[in-house]
Amino acid sequence: MLPNIYKGNYLLALIPPLLLIALAICFVLANGINLGVDFEGGTLATLQTKNSVDASWLESKLSEEGFANPHVNVFQTTYGYKVEVEFAQSEEIKRAESLKSEFHALLPEVSNLEVRYLSTGENGEEYTQKKGKLYSIAEEMINGLAGMNEVVSNKNLNELNGLFASSYSAVYKNYEKKVGAAINKHVSYDSISLQTVSPALSTQFIEKAGNVVLFSAILSTLFVFVVFRTAVPSAAVLIGAFSDVVIALGAMSFFGIPLTLASFAALIMLVGYSLDTDVLLTMRMLKREGDPREKAFDAMKTGITMSTTAIVAFSALFALAYLTRISTYYEISSVVICGLIGDIFATWGINAVILLKYMLGRR
């Protein structure tokens, strides 16, 4: 078995996790984290093909077609190849989205002004001005973006509303058609499916994810302080868990694992799991008699067995992801495996050392 790493100068145990964290921060700063379609918005085309496709060749071809930064991934599967092409949010969809929200903010106001003006003759100036604005928004959407060739000015508000809605979906469908046509030119495929995440939806996902992180952090922090009631051990537990998430993010940056809803869920789970090992360590250290160095090492043996079983189960999921190319499996398993390995370093290198220093210093 392992020798007790906490005998002698236990501060040395800090080195590996601190190195890992420094590396993780460097990667994240240098490469950033690849936001998936869920959070960044955009269009994801998934193709099933019989033959393999050269990813960088397809990327350059699609750039020539006028798509900004297309990202191509090719996977071999048990039934041919799976090609994923990610397109950044297109300018026309972004514009359509903002026109849509302006239009729907203004429409009820103009309707009510119109009724007021027609029945009482009041607010004529405001009515004309706002109506003009509404019709120019509609003009840009219907004839500009959707290319529908309609005379907008002779439509009443109701017809305008209907036309606006169909032109909005036309903008989406046209874009997806354009994407489909561009791919079709260069790749022959058996099936294609397109998923577009609108700017509104991706913004919502980001907001919700932010809330989840916030509430998760608050709940876990409160709970940890309630359980341990003393500042240093509680802080040590939280530092351990936080370091683990930093290491996981670094790994995501290094391996190019995108941040999607699935990998986000994996990160949240990681917080819970990494707190588990930290709690085990802290309870064993604080609430038992005996030599702190022995107790820490003892806890480490239990903790590493725990982490090993979890890593092993997630490796099975990872292998499954490799076979099926199901991105949900891949994103969850790869993030958790990296995080669990990071957790071993963070818990037994950082949290344990802080606790040991705290307990030995008090003697």
Binding site: Q204, L214, S216, V271, G272, L317, A319
Partner: protein, 559 residues
């Protein structure tokens, strides 16, 4: 080895044991009586048995609680099967984009209405779920293109509002100005219980004023998706039975005919028994009939190429009320033909002078709180009729994703193999770490039980990709507590009870932390990953409440 376990004779007199047994039987019966609540019953059993086995520490109680839950889970799977999402069954996902973001309440309305719409074509397995607050996913377990495009048609169709006065079209959905429909505040109701106001376009206002001129107190028949040139096929007996005693059949029929009158349209009422082979079906393209109408009647229409719409029995029965000119009999509601409300025209608006704003007001039945609720319901109803559809917000369909059934089944097969592999290698790690059969076997048995119960619970709802990932993860995470217990018990000093208590306090803290961290995800409404949160949280609960105490009981005896 098991000398501390009570004998069978002792068990009979053990009140706790008998109580648990009775509870188990009760849940078992519940599962058969209310099969749709199987998932909730299993969770309830988990919570009850779990609490009992934390309070009552006798090993045989803890073990029998786990065993009973396992039996419940296995029979749930056997009776009810496991539901899988379209990723595993094959199917089609159609995203629906809303015109603008809506509140949670409106979203709930939308989801329910879309479910109802989609269920018209008889596919009960259609899933409708909100994604954020501006998108909805509709998932159907079929990749058949014809079926998918039928569903798309139904979803895309907006309702058409039509207001008819004295057989003439007075107002249509096209006349109502967008964004002007509002609820009339109480102080302006003037004696009515509820009111909905709206404004109409200039052309609409002029037309309406002309049509209703001199028609004071006539009913305004408000239709949503009124069938045109149709046969409305009524069952005579049923109609007769449903009418109040004071109403003559002929008077009721006359009122129904009047409600259907519309210039340029030729919709008529026929009785089921009059639909006979050789009847004149020309000039009409559509028939509305009961779902339970005789097959022979349905066949006559379908063989003549006439489209049919099938409705429930009660929708075919008109609601009669009195009022209007001279207190005449009027059809107030008749869902089969889309007649949803018939307010009477107030004399002030029948003078021929166009007005741009109108309101519909009326009484609500009941008293007190019930009356308020009824009024609220009426307001919602009228609002949705005027908006030309049950949907409060206009929708557009996004591009669909199709997963062919063989591919889905392949995914499922591989995923189940993955689950098995995870289980086997975790067992291998445990075996290599402890190298003692009396540790390895209980760990494996308890973990297996946990996975089965987890599959039964999640499978009674739906297992999608994220849930499956959570279940596989649970295999690796759920053994952690067993490891903590074992390591504690293998220590040399301290009594068994002390060691178990120490282990349990660590585990309880762990499980609480894990659940607290995941809880916000569970309530985030991010449907794509909620399954993962559910599986992880259930796995943790299951472990803390049942399998860990049960394992402690076995391990405590063995080590």
């Amino acid at each position: 080895m098991f000398e501390k376990f009570p004998s069978l004779g002792q068990l009979k007199n053990d009140r706790r044991f008998v109580f648990i047994l009775l509870l188990g039987a009760l849940m078992f019966a519940g599962m058969f009586i209310y099969p749709i609540y199987i998932g909730f019953l299993l969770i309830l059993s988990l919570l009850i048995f779990g609490t009992l086995s934390s309070v009552w520490k006798e090993p045989h109680i803890r073990l029998s609680a786990l065993f009973l839950l396992l039996i419940l889970a296995v029979s749930a799977i056997a009776v009810h099967g496991i539901k899988f999402g379209i990723d595993f069954m094959g199917g089609t996902r159609i995203p629906i984009v809303l015109e603008h973001s809506v509140s949670d309440l409106t979203m709930q309305d939308m989801v329910n209405t879309i479910k109802k719409r989609a269920s018209v074509i008889g596919l009960t397995e259609i899933k409708v779920k909100a994604v954020g607050n501006s998108e909805i996913y509709v998932e159907l377990p079929s990749a058949d293109e014809e079926m998918v495009s039928r569903v798309e048609d139904i979803l895309e169709k907006q309702g058409v509002y039509l207001g008819v006065v004295d057989g003439k079209t007075a107002i249509t959905g096209q006349d109502i100005l967008p964004g002007t429909i509002y609820r009339v505040p109480t102080q302006y109701l003037g004696g009515s219980d509820w009111g909905v106001g709206f404004s109409i376009t200039k052309a609409g206002a002029e037309h309406f004023a002309e049509i209703v001129k001199g028609k004071a107190n006539y009913p305004l028949y408000m239709f949503l998706d009124r069938p045109s040139n149709a046969f409305v096929v009524v069952n005579r007996e049923q109609l007769k039975e449903s009418l109040p005693e004071s109403v003559e059949m002929d008077d009721a029929l006359a009122a129904m005919k009047e409600a259907l009158e519309l210039d340029g349209d030729n919709t008529i009422i026929v009785f089921e028994e009059d639909v006979l082979p050789g009847m004149n079906l020309s000039n009409r393209t559509y028939a509305v009939l009961r779902k339970n109408a005789p097959q022979s009647v349905k066949d006559i229409f379908s063989s003549a190429g006439i489209m049919t719409k099938e409705v429930e029995d009660n929708e075919m029965i008109p609601e009669i009320s009195y009022g209007g000119v001279g207190g005449a009999m009027v059809v107030a509601k008749w869902e089969a033909v889309g007649l949803l409300s018939s307010p009477f025209l107030s004399p002030q608006i029948t003078d021929g002078i166009p007005s741009y704003s109108y309101s519909i007001t009326g009484p609500a039945s009941g008293a007190g709180q019930e009356k308020v609720l009824n009024a609220e319901r009426r307001v919602k109803e009228i609002e949705s009729i005027l908006k030309g559809g049950a949907l409060p917000v206009r929708i557009t369909l996004g591009s669909k994703t199709t997963i062919p059934a063989p591919l889905g089944q392949e995914f499922l097969r591989l995923s189940l193999i993955g689950l098995l592999v995870a289980f086997l290698i975790v067992s291998l790690v445990i075996s290599l770490t402890y190298r003692r059969l009396n540790v390895i076997l209980p760990v494996i048995v308890v973990t297996l039980a946990e996975v089965i119960v987890l599959i039964a619970i999640t499978g009674s709802f739906t297992i999608d990709l994220a849930t499956m990932a959570g279940i596989i993860a649970a295999v690796g995470v759920s053994v952690d507590a067993q490891i903590i217990i074992t390591d504690e018990l293998l220590k040399k000093h301290g009594t068994k009870e002390e060691k178990l208590d120490k282990a349990m306090s660590i585990i309880n803290t762990n499980v609480t932390v894990a659940i607290l961290a995941m809880l916000p995800l569970l309530f985030s409404g991010m449907v794509e990953i909620i399954g993962f949160a559910v599986a992880t949280i259930l796995g943790a609960l299951l472990g803390a409440l049942l399998s860990r105490p049960a394992y402690a009981a076995i391990a405590g005896e063995l080590i």
